[in-house]
Symmetry: C2
Subunit: 103 residues, 2 copies
């Protein structure tokens, strides 16, 4: 059973519409980050969800994963050009939240 896409908007949401994906992408806007550093920037995310999230983002071509063959292991994540094209959307979502989360 595949995801049903009713309109382009739905396609976009199928790629970034989860709890953590927008957050991961957002923190990569300023440049690539080592795995541990990226994860620390996202308070509350579990190890499992972090791995799962970056795996799916990579599969969908939004981020690139680079493995450095060193000890201890080092992995870096960065936005792909496709991921970078989401910048305006991500910043808009963040700005809207800023403007509307006044308690």
């Amino acid at each position: 059973m595949k995801k049903e896409i009713n309109c382009p908007l739905n396609f976009t949401m199928s790629l970034i519409g989860t709890k953590w994906k927008p957050l991961v992408l957002f923190h990569l806007l300023e440049g690539g980050l080592r795995s541990g550093i990226l994860q620390k920037k996202i308070p509350g995310i579990s190890n499992k969800m972090f791995t799962q999230t970056v795996r799916e983002l990579e599969k969908d071509g939004l981020i690139k994963r680079t493995i450095f063959p060193v000890v201890p292991p080092k992995v870096e994540y960065k936005l792909s050009s496709k991921g970078e094209s989401l910048e305006a959307i991500l910043r808009n979502l963040d700005q809207w939240g800023l403007d509307n989360s006044k308690n």
Copy 2:
């Protein structure tokens, strides 16, 4: 257990980050619609999810629900000003999907 908000972006996603919410909002951009009409514009949505979705959008102040005391029953949904402020985001999400869903 409440939703955890790590950054403004997350707040926005907590309001519109589901399968159907963006679609409902998107179809209301052109103006208010009667319940049945709105639902028909969203192929695949079940009756339950339609009701649940508009209820939450109303609770969060993104849409307004107007009941006309007539027979048969008539209910109309329209964007609130807060909902209208999402227009740019919704159109961007749709446009990005259009640009990136080329098979």
